[in-house]
């Protein structure tokens, strides 16, 4: 009897997670939670509402949401076809193109901003023609903020969506073709639904990255309240002059990001096997 029980108990113990992993995971969680706790502890709760409802704070928040949503849209419109080509169309130098298109993810954002300036600035490589021919000036404009955010955020969408395209079983697309569907119809009714979890995840990641974008924005678009001063810029500035306001605005930004991540994670980013919609 005892010889039988022994291995059973061991098997049960093996199912329990090992304590070093639990301890390190707990430490990591504390590491992430602690800065937020610091903000909550430091926050001037009495003045919080007046700071949040101040016109300058609301302007920055509105501009941040506006720009990050447009950047997400631009990243989706450009990034989905790019991801499809990278996943499905074999061509020489595909690896190099993928590296190029995801470079801005690992680049210091300030470098991206400087690079954008010399490409799209008024006297930049392409920017001079935008200025001469169309009268379009991107630097120090709201459009420039969107360009900078798209530049740093799109790789997150491209990588996620490319993985989704790769994982998709293309035989379903074949089946749809034999049923009389044109390639465009197949993409809309079969391919897109199949990659939807990946697409939503990629868009959320890109949006979160755009919302928090600082370095490329301040370098390329500057820091003009109401025009290019997004929340991260406003927070950085106020941290020097009005720390109370910086803390409250930081909490607002965290609340917005956290709320969206939690809401979408449950629905789209969770169990990939779960049917969606």
């Amino acid at each position: 009897m005892s010889t039988r029980r022994q291995p059973t108990r061991r098997a049960r113990e093996a199912r329990r997670p090992p304590w070093p992993a639990l301890a390190l995971a707990a430490l990591a969680t504390v590491f992430f939670a602690l800065p937020f706790a610091g903000l909550l502890w430091r926050a001037p709760w009495g003045d919080a509402w007046s700071i949040v409802s101040s016109p300058s704070a609301r302007t920055a928040l509105r501009l941040s949401l506006w720009c990050s949503l447009w950047a997400t849209l631009a990243a989706t419109v450009l990034g989905v076809p790019l991801a499809w080509v990278l996943a499905r169309v074999p061509f020489p130098g595909r690896g190099a193109v993928r590296a190029l298109c995801t470079l801005s993810m690992v680049l210091p954002p300030v470098v991206g901003g400087v690079a954008l300036f010399y490409a799209l600035g008024r006297r930049g490589l392409v920017g001079r023609y935008l200025d001469d021919w169309f009268g379009v000036t991107l630097p120090f404009s709201t459009a420039g903020v969107i360009v900078a955010q798209t530049f740093v955020a799109m790789p997150f969408l491209v990588l996620t969506v490319e993985a989704a395209f790769r994982q998709q079983d293309t035989r379903y697309e074949d089946a749809a073709r034999t049923l009389g569907a044109t390639p465009a119809y197949v993409f809309r009714r079969v391919t897109l639904p199949a990659i939807r979890p990946g697409l939503v995840a990629g868009a959320v990641l890109a949006w979160a990255r755009a919302l928090g974008e600082f370095g490329a924005t301040i370098t390329f678009a500057g820091n003009f309240p109401g025009r290019t001063q997004t929340m991260p810029l406003a927070i950085y500035l106020r941290n020097e002059t009005a720390p109370d306001e910086a803390v409250v605005l930081s909490l607002v930004l965290i609340a917005v990001s956290f709320g969206v991540l939690v809401a979408l994670r449950d629905r789209y980013l969770g169990d990939p096997g779960r049917p969606v919609g």
Binding site: Y172, A175, R177, G180, Y185, R189, A194, G277
Partner: protein, 350 residues
């Protein structure tokens, strides 16, 4: 009103070069081992894979002809496909799956749904219209796949291993249902399978495909009575030997000779049923004209029947009873004597 196809296509190690003709109302089974190119034939007929050479003509319309630069894309072919694993769209209900082809061809939503519902009714799944594919059993999914393929009124229906994804328990019943539903479809049918039972139950005619080439065509009865390859012989469970006939002897390609009852001239096949092969411990004396010594390769018991595989230059399978095996006390590696009566051997020209 037929399908005439000469399919030439290289794909990895496979060099496919096969001719296939199907008459109206006929079901042709493409029977072959894994990797023989069966599925590639279907993909070429459906237009999912363009030909390298050859031609596909359906009802007089050229669908693929590389020499003439003609290639009709899959969505414009009157061809329906039931895929292996069914490939029902996982995000759509059974009804939406069946309606998919009609919607893709521009049928209004309400009409498409009504006709799809009628199709589900026909295959006995009217009460499963709202179910997602993952809520359907293998047999049900197969019927939805069939309804989806037939809902667009194809002239040619292609079935790729339609029963392979099912477990053995449900296979028989689904096969019978499939036969009934196929009977109600007026067009041409091509069925790809590696299982002769499927071919027997569902097809009028068999095309045997091996390593990209057609090795034999005919009814399954013809093909199994006179196999022309080891693959078919093993599939139907007979011994097949090839050689050169000179009157009543057959000089075997593998060496040795066989005395046969029916005189045969030139290249010929000989078929020996396993039950006609007798096994002895000592050289037998008596009437059998064909006696030779061979090592036992392996022994396979099926109930009270035993198949003894003999090695050596003339590989044969002998079928004996379990008591006979016990009496002989055979073990793999031992040498035995095998004999076959000349009258048990059927010969036919190669």
């Amino acid at each position: 009103m037929t399908l005439e196809a000469h399919v030439v296509r290289a794909l990895g190690p496979l060099a496919l070069d096969a001719t296939l003709e199907v008459a109206d109302g006929e079901t042709v089974a493409v029977l072959g081992p894994n990797g023989s190119g069966k599925t590639t034939v279907l993909r070429c007929l459906a237009g999912l894979l363009p030909l390298d050479a050859g031609r596909v003509v359906l009802d007089g319309e050229v669908l693929d002809d590389p020499a003439a630069g003609v290639l009709v894309p899959p969505e414009q072919r009157p061809v329906g496909v039931v895929f292996q694993d069914h490939l029902l769209f996982p995000h759509l209900s059974a009804l939406e799956n069946v309606a998919f082809g009609l919607r893709a061809r521009g049928t209004a939503k309400a009409t498409a749904r009504r006709r799809a519902a009628a199709w589900l009714e026909r295959v006995g799944l009217g009460d499963h219209a709202g179910h997602r594919p993952d809520a359907l059993s293998g047999g049900q999914a197969q019927r939805v796949a069939l309804a989806r393929a037939l809902a667009t009124d194809p002239r040619l229906l292609l079935l790729d291993e339609p029963l392979a994804a099912l477990d053995a328990r449900t296979k028989g019943q689904v096969r019978r249902e499939l036969r009934d539903h196929l009977g109600g479809f007026a067009g041409m049918r091509v069925l790809v399978t590696h299982d002769p039972v499927d071919a027997y139950a569902l097809a009028d005619r068999v095309v045997v495909l091996e390593a990209g080439r057609v090795t034999q065509t005919g009814t399954l009865a013809d093909v199994s009575a006179r196999p022309r390859s080891r693959y078919i012989a093993e599939l139907v469970g007979v011994n097949l030997l090839a050689g050169e006939g000179h009157d009543s002897t057959l000089a075997l390609a593998a060496g040795g000779r066989l005395v046969v009852a029916e005189p045969v001239q030139g290249p010929a096949f000989a078929v020996i049923p396993p039950h006609a092969v007798a096994v002895y411990r000592t050289p037998p004396a008596g009437s059998p004209r064909n006696v030779w010594e061979a090592p036992v390769a392996d022994i396979d018991r099926h109930g009270d029947r035993v198949r003894v595989r003999l090695g050596g230059p003339i590989p044969l399978v002998a079928e004996i009873t379990a008591p006979a095996l016990d009496a002989l006390d055979l073990h793999p590696g031992e040498r035995v004597w095998a004999s076959v009566k000349a009258t048990e051997i059927e010969t036919y020209p190669a």
